[in-house]
């Protein structure tokens, strides 16, 4: 139920935005992420964007194993 998917913001109109995920565009409520801008990535749950995706952090997560090797 707590399923959420990443999407890219295409356009914003007040508290609504059009967000695109895997080629599908859909209206998304952005009341919970008022700081969002066009081209930001957000995570969408049941029609609401609930958080911005931090691209750098996404890359760092993937780099977790790099740290591991350095540690060894």
């Amino acid at each position: 139920m707590c399923l959420a998917v990443p999407a890219r913001i295409i356009s914003i109109n007040k508290n609504l935005a059009i967000a695109e995920s895997l080629g599908v565009s859909r209206e998304v409520d952005i009341s919970l992420v008022p700081e969002v801008k066009k081209d930001d990535y957000v995570i969408v749950h049941a029609g609401f964007a609930i958080q911005l995706v931090d691209k750098n952090e996404a890359l760092i997560t993937r780099g977790y194993w790099k740290d591991y090797f350095d540690e060894k």
């Binding site: 958080q51 997560t61 194993w65």
Partner: protein
């Protein structure tokens, strides 16, 4: 990526062998439940690592009394009831919303709670009831809509409030002496809202590590590895693996609106019972949006289905293979308990992905 997965797997096996004793790692999120089964992660775990599921599916933990109450309401009032799809097939004592719809009740499946409010706005003469179910991920959505309904003076919209909070349920599990939990894979999208601080008591008071995990197999395996490293080092803390969207402080705006609209209260969880402070009730200025006050129904005597062990499964005490009904009288096409109904329930996950596997009936230690 294949090499990375192999490296994580090796690290998990090395840590598990060093730790030696048997470990129960619990996830508390239906999406984790499904991902672990779907990607066969149990198959590649060392023998002393048990991946167990906790009460992570909001539909599954909804008490049968609440289900019966909605069924009764749908029979008694001509309101339009809006619900997420998972709720519709959950059996109550003698019916389900699916059956009631076939008998003429106005029950609608919606993708977003916003659809329910939009329908109410477009149909001012029709009473609209939204079944507000879900953990912290979903709660701010309901809160936004309640506040919006009040701002716009929408009078024909109300909610059946079944929202529940995750951290108090984790505390209840930790207080249960019959379950031993050695680490929590904390729910990713709940944590998007609440952040990492609400889990800190688990490490400080119970000495158990928590890792907030993403949902890809890579994420879950990495999180398991992080848990094992914490156990190995004897330094339990809350770590965030799903750092692309989870911040330590969560989503402060979402937390603020939850607090503006709701007050904490006690709540009944299927299989666990009443957990103090694990539910929410609408604040005084929003009580007009409470369906239970606007559409009163009589007291109901509900009884959990005979032979169903969903309660034990939700607490991680038993796995679905230990239920006598599993795959026989209880199947996805004819579910007896909620864990088989919900697409995120443990029984549904085991039925779909794991029922032919050898570890399936392995008893928990």
């Amino acid at each position: 990526m294949k090499n990375e997965i192999e490296t994580i797997k090796k690290s998990i096996w090395d840590s598990a062998s060093l730790i030696g004793r048997s470990l129960n790692l619990m996830e508390v999120c239906g999406t984790h439940t499904m991902a672990i089964s779907k990607y066969g992660l149990r198959d590649i775990m060392p023998p002393n690592i048990n991946l167990i599921s906790g009460p992570g599916c909001p539909v599954c933990v909804t008490s049968i009394t609440d289900i019966d109450r909605i069924i009764m309401l749908s029979r008694k009032y001509p309101a339009g009831i809006f619900t997420f799809g998972d709720m519709i097939k959950v059996p109550g004592s003698d019916s389900s919303l699916y059956l009631e719809r076939s008998r003429g009740s106005d029950i609608n499946i919606c993708y977003s709670p916003k659809d329910a409010l939009d329908f109410a706005i477009g149909n001012p003469h029709k009473e609209v009831i939204f079944i507000a179910i879900g953990f912290e991920t979903t709660i701010p959505l309901t809160a936004v809509l309640i506040e919006r309904a009040r701002m716009q003076d929408i009078k024909n919209f109300s909610i059946i409030n079944l929202h529940k909070l995750v951290p108090p349920a984790l505390k209840a599990l930790l207080e249960d002496r019959e379950i031993r939990i050695d680490g929590f894979l904390s729910p990713g999208h709940v944590s998007v809202i609440i952040g990492s601080h609400p889990y800190e008591f688990i490490c400080k008071e119970y000495g158990i590590p928590c890792v907030i995990s993403g949902f890809e197999p890579y994420d879950i395996m990495t999180s398991i590895d992080m848990l094992l490293r914490q156990i190995k080092q004897g330094k339990p803390e809350v770590q965030i693996q799903y750092s692309s969207v989870v911040r330590e402080s969560g989503n402060p705006g979402a937390l603020k609106i939850i607090d503006q609209v709701f007050n904490p209260c006690d709540s009944d969880w299927r299989g666990i019972g009443c957990i103090p402070g694990s539910g929410l009730t609408l604040r005084k200025k929003f009580v007009n949006y409470d369906s239970s006050l606007r559409f009163p129904i009589e007291e109901i005597n509900s009884a959990d289905p005979a032979g169903c062990i969903c309660g034990e499964i939700l607490k991680g005490k038993k796995n679905p293979g230990q239920c006598r009904l599993f795959g026989k009288s209880c199947r996805p096409d004819h579910p007896v308990g909620p864990c088989m109904v919900s697409s995120e329930g443990s029984c549904a996950a085991y039925y779909r992905y794991e029922r032919f596997k050898s570890h399936f009936v392995k008893n928990l230690p």
